[in-house]
Every structure is written in C-alpha cells, then in structure tokens.
C-alpha cells in the first residue's frame, strides 16, 4: 500500500508544480524526503483577510494508507485563527478528518486551507480562545490576526499599538511569544495579560 501512496504523491507533486496556483505564487509544495512521505506546503494568505500578504508554512505527513486516509497537515507558522491551534498548529477541518475523499489531492487540500483562512468556522473551533474573540470582538480579532501575520508570516501590515504592548510586557521580563499569547488571549488588556502570565 505504501507503493500506491508514493506513486500518487509523485503524480500529485507534478500536478501541483504545474498548476496555475503555483504560477501565481498562491501555493507551494516541497518534498522533505525521497520516499514521498513528508512534504512541506506553503499557502499565501488570501486577500481581504487579516492574513493577506502572509506566507504560511505547513507540515504534511502522508500516511501509508493514503489516499484512503487523509494526509496529516498542521501549520508550522504560528497563526491566530479560530480553527487552527495557536499553540500546536493543529487544524480543525472536516476534509482532513471524516469528510476526506480519496479523489482529493494535496492541491485541493492546500486550496481548502486557503479557503479556511478566508472563511473561519467559529462554531467548530480548534482554538476556543480565538473562536470566542472572533465571535465577541471581531475588530480585536482582526487586529490580532494581522499582528500575528506580520510577526510570524512576513505579513505587510504592522500593528504598532499592539507591538508596543508586547514590548511593554517584555520590559517586565516576560518572554516575547508568551507575552504576545497572553495579550492576544486577554484582548490586549495589559493588566489582565500580566495576571494571566503570573498565574
């Protein structure tokens, strides 16, 4: 069975390389080893979203039972999104679980993930904290997501106000990423974030 998996990935790999999405730099796929079991994906943040202009890297592991079971995909790049864990990068997307179909390919998976960045599903969250913010404070969520895209995904939009708050907490001796997570979690309220970090 490993044979059919490797053969198919070879074909899919060629398909992705030739696809017009690669030509337009929307998606990218790289091999990590010669056995076609581990790949690195890359998707561009879709326009008109807080992720616009960012580049998000993905870790793709092909199971031996591929394509009868879905590939294991997670974000390497840290991202603030209701359906993606801000801690582990784990993705909550139905086609990577029970809605997988054997005719889907790595190309369609990458495009689906891009679509997920455009249209979050806060009612089926992976990260409950992000999902709550998405539902209750949409503008704070957008700012936070933009900030994370700028910091971790080479995004173009700086959020100077948020950066100042992060450096303020850093000045208090907290590690930068932890400070950012605490502030993001506490809707950028410095007092609450400090309490959160201490507790």
């Amino acid at each position: 069975m490993a044979n059919i998996a490797a053969q198919r990935i070879q074909r899919e790999f060629r398909e992705v390389i030739k696809s017009e999405e690669v030509a337009k730099c929307h998606i990218k796929l790289e091999l990590k080893n010669d056995e076609y079991t581990e790949l690195k994906g890359e998707i561009a943040g879709p326009p008109d979203t807080p992720y616009d202009g960012g580049v998000f890297q993905l870790d793709i592991i092909i199971p031996e039972t591929y394509p009868f079971n879905p590939p294991k995909v997670k974000f390497i790049t840290k991202i603030w999104h209701p359906n993606i864990s801000s801690v582990t990068g784990a993705i909550c997307l139905d086609i990577l679980k029970d809605q997988w179909a054997a005719a889907m390919t790595l190309r369609t998976v990458l495009l689906s993930l891009q679509a997920l960045l455009s249209a979050a599903e806060p009612d089926d969250p992976q990260d409950a904290v992000v999902a709550r913010q998405y539902k209750e404070q949409q503008s704070v969520f957008r700012q936070t997501a933009k900030h994370w895209t700028y910091i971790y995904a080479k995004g173009p939009h700086r959020e100077a106000e948020l950066e100042a708050k992060v450096s303020q907490l850093r000045g208090m001796g907290f590690e930068e990423h932890k400070a950012r997570v605490a502030l993001s979690t506490c809707d950028w309220n410095i007092q609450r974030a400090t309490d959160h970090l201490i507790s």
């Binding site: 060629r14 179909a101 005719a103």
Partner: protein
Amino acid sequence: MYRQKLYASLKQLFKKNTMAEAAPSSSGAPSSSPGASNSIPDEETNGTYDCNICLDIAKDTVVTFCGHLFCWPCLHQWLSTRPDRQMCPVCKAGISKEKVIPIYGRGSTDNKDPREKLPPRPSAQRSEPENNSSFGNFNMGNLQFSFGIGAFPFTFFASNFNLGDARPGNPSAGTQQHQEERVLSQIFLFVAMFFAIWLIIA
C-alpha cells in the same frame, strides 16, 4: 505489464510516436525505465480514463452511477476503509458495491490479471426481457418448505446414531477426552429430543 503494452500500442495509434517502441520492454519500475520520461506528457493529454483514486490508467475499470471512473481494486479499498460511509470519492454521492458498473473493453476477457486475490469486480446486471417474477417467488417458497421438514430427521439420525460414521475413532474409555465427549453427546441428544418434542407439540 499487459496494461503497459496496451498503453504503448494506444500511444502508437494516437500519437504515431516512434518512442513507444521502448515502452513494452519496461519492467514496471517507473524511475529507471525509458518509458518513464514519456509518462509525463502522456498524463497531460490522456487523463480522461485515469482512475480517480490512483490517478493511473484505470484497470478492472468500474464506473459509478454518478459517472466517476475507478479501478475496481481502488474503489473496493475505499469502500472497505469506511464501511459506514459509502460515498463516491469524487462527488460524495451515495454508492455501494452493487451500484457500480464494470466496463468491459475489447480484449479485457483474456487479460490475466495477476491480482486475483482481490475481490472480483461486481458483475454487470442484465435483466431478462419477460417478467416471470411471481412464478419464481412461488418456487422459492416451496423449496424452503420442503427443505425444513425433509432435512431434519436425516441430520438428527446422522448426528445422534452415527450412521455411516466416517469420523476419527473414539478416544479410549477412561481418558478425559472420552468423558468430555460423552457429556457433550448427552447434551446434544437432550437438545435434539427437546427440539423434536417441541416440533410435535407446536
């Protein structure tokens, strides 16, 4: 191997490509064979009859009612991977083993497939022109009725009175196996008697 030859001859027919002569000798290893370099342009031009699962030219071809083409081994594995959710891998329409149509191309009958261990393709459905279903049903019921009564005494006698005994010899008396078999046969006799009495009363 056969498939590759077929593929090669198709290539000759459609593309009039002299390179195809190299393909029949290929050993099936795609990386080193001379046919491998040909396979990339082939995919571009000729993907219409590729299996939607292995993305290769379909073998033991079947088509679903929703019109999607697969190798039968691929589709069978897909269906057996998720027995609770039987859906088309392309369009997610409901499908089942009974609801796929095999495709018989010319020359497919003498195709000696080495993978006979795989479950055979479902057979095509061919309905007879005249309708005689009521007669068939009657026959069926009659057969079942006579079997139920007729078989009982034979099995009863055969199992309890050891008529035409062709089984291995009884273990010698006194051993544990002998004891166990005696107990077992008594239990079976009791069950059989009970069943007989129950039949008579009912």
